[in-house]
Symmetry: C2
Subunit: 335 residues, 2 copies
DNA sequence: GCCTGGCACTCCGTGGGTTCGAGTGCCAAT
DNA sequence: ATTGGCACTCGAACCCACGGAGTGCCAGGC
């Protein structure tokens, strides 16, 4: 009885996602094996509407799930569809050719957007937990230094420093050695502390340089990088263009907004679903996000997922997001 | 007389761009200071239509410019609007804070899209004419090398090499010295030749490494990089969604397609306008591009511009594109 | 020869009215 | 609790008529 109601809700969600049209009682009993009569289903639907799981656009129309309805569906009615072997093969072969971290991220975005037919978002692995592999200083002018920071994740950060004072080649070489001695192998936070200590022991002007280096290291800009792909999938919205697509297109360009929308990286393996108004932005109240964390050793370094309409295939999308996160994590383990 | 016809065409283009609606003879004489009668304007319009400059959607509707009409407008009737001082100030202050090449490109994209309210596209300066400033080799595993290539434009390319054979630290240091000796200061093409020659003189396995380095250098992937911004401006299309926005959204993700659409970099200062079907893609026959080259010393290293509907404010857009290219070029000169 | 005023014509967009049908709610019976 | 039946609601689709914007063309004037 309560079971049947849930079955009705599930059927409505599935039909609505498939057809994009409000689903009525008749279509429901025909298309699903509910062994009850029309009237019974109607009663259930009316009850579900009273409880806020369904909504009807107008009196003589079918029912549409509310955010609350989707939430229940995702929480209690979803069994993740395993991916087809073809899909699995696609994922591995797609990732195999990657040549560096940037490439991995870009391939993942493309992969995710193609698998889910939604807009995919992949955050670059955050700096905070990765370690410094090497710091390279290149003097491109007497008073100008290019800093290249190579991290254990394979990520490379670059930054030009204006010194305000010329340095000799030897001074740069010396600085390079000291900086690498202090920072290599450390996580960013430790490296920053070590460099600050180093700067204190140094004579001007190298001390200034070390300080500038610290700035370059902690530059938070680097934490905000994301890759976005599959925006063309927005074209499938068609209806509700102004209310849904416009704010989303805007959000896709504001990476800070996007990151907030995606939320904190959750443990890899746990897929987080945010439905409509559960997210932080009112303008995006008709979009949902499906996200999870990823990173080597299943240690969630960054977030990855998709953004789409509340009306989406949650089981399929969740499975795809989880699978891609898993494979990318594994790939990062190897690298 | 012929002059008046051109004036009529100009007025129609301007009105149509402003109102987005087919413009009729009445609105025309009212809004523009054409000192002739309705009937005269009608005759001119009919003549312009015969010659293919105008088109009327249906008998009792106003006229709309054809691609050919826009072309004539751009070629003969356009006087570039100078930017307002506010706009100029915006450009300089926007670019001033840039900290590296990536940042310059990203700021330019944002700037262009905001100035023109169109989708902006900026190609990263191509490698081909820039010189090698430094090659850094970092051994991240015995048989794995991270190559960081620093170019005179400030661009940094990175690539991981799988050696298939372990190298000692000394071998790497030696290789680094030799490679830098051969490549530093040369343009890419020369550097490649020099490295090939170097590889011939070397014993295995360093020769293999040098060869791999060449591959990394000539990797054409790097020439395809573009930054895109302002996709949210597509939301203003509203009508003609399927025919115009969808293919464009797809093109924006396919950077190769996008680069072909933008065309070759033309000399900085010369703004190229491609209208509708003049471009290489049929699906994009209702979009135009406004592009120009940019680079230090006005040597066009790369292309920059916008993509938008054929119905756009060409004079304003052309002025903005030219101005941004000029300022970015100047900025690159200084750096 | 070019411009102008006038007139008849063509269609598109709009609004009102009607019909059609899907879907509902509720009641009485099992 | 479930079911069959019935009356009801309300949006979508269709039709039609009408008004008006815009046109093409002709005859007359400078």
């Amino acid at each position: 009885m309560q079971d049947r109601r849930l079955a009705v809700l599930r059927a409505i969600v599935e039909d609505y996602v498939a057809t994009e049209e409000p689903v009525g009682s008749k279509a429901l009993v025909e298309r699903h094996g509910l062994n009850v009569s029309l009237a019974t289903v109607r009663n259930d639907m009316a009850a579900l509407e009273d409880e806020g799981y369904l909504h009807q656009p107008h009196t003589s129309a079918g029912r549409v799930p509310t955010d609350k309805g989707y939430r229940l569906f995702v929480d209690r009615l979803t069994t993740l569809k395993p991916l087809s072997t073809a899909e699995r093969r696609a994922i591995t072969s797609f990732l195999e050719g990657a040549i560096d971290l940037d490439d991995v991220v870009q391939r993942s975005v493309r992969l995710l957007s193609q698998l889910t037919r939604q807009v995919a978002v992949v955050q670059y692995p955050t700096l905070s937990r990765s370690t410094v592999r090497h710091v390279e200083l290149v003097q491109i002018a007497p008073d100008r230094l290019l800093v290249v920071l190579i991290l254990s994740t394979g990520r490379v950060e670059q930054r030009i420093l204006e010194l305000g004072h010329p340095l000799t080649e030897d001074a740069v070489a010396d600085l390079r050695n000291q900086v690498n001695g202090a920072a290599t192998g450390e996580i960013i936070a430790t490296a920053v502390t070590a460099l600050r200590a180093l700067a204190d022991t140094m004579a001007w002007p190298t001390a200034v340089v070390a300080t500038l280096l610290v700035d370059a290291l902690v530059d938070h800009r680097s934490d905000e990088r994301v890759a976005v792909g599959g925006a063309a999938n927005l074209a499938r919205y068609g209806d509700s263009f102004d209310s849904a697509v416009r704010p989303l297109l805007e959000a896709l360009e504001e990476h800070v907004v996007l990151l907030r929308l995606m939320g904190e990286a959750t443990a890899s393996g746990t897929v987080t679903v945010r439905i409509g108004a559960e997210g932080p932005y009112e303008e995006l109240s008709s979009t949902s996000t499906v996200t999870t964390g990823y990173g080597p050793q299943d240690d969630a370094l960054a977030t990855l997922g998709i953004v789409g309409p509340t009306r989406m295939d949650y089981p399929g999308t969740m499975a795809a997001v989880r699978a891609v996160a898993r494979y990318v994590s594994r790939f990062l383990d190897e690298a």
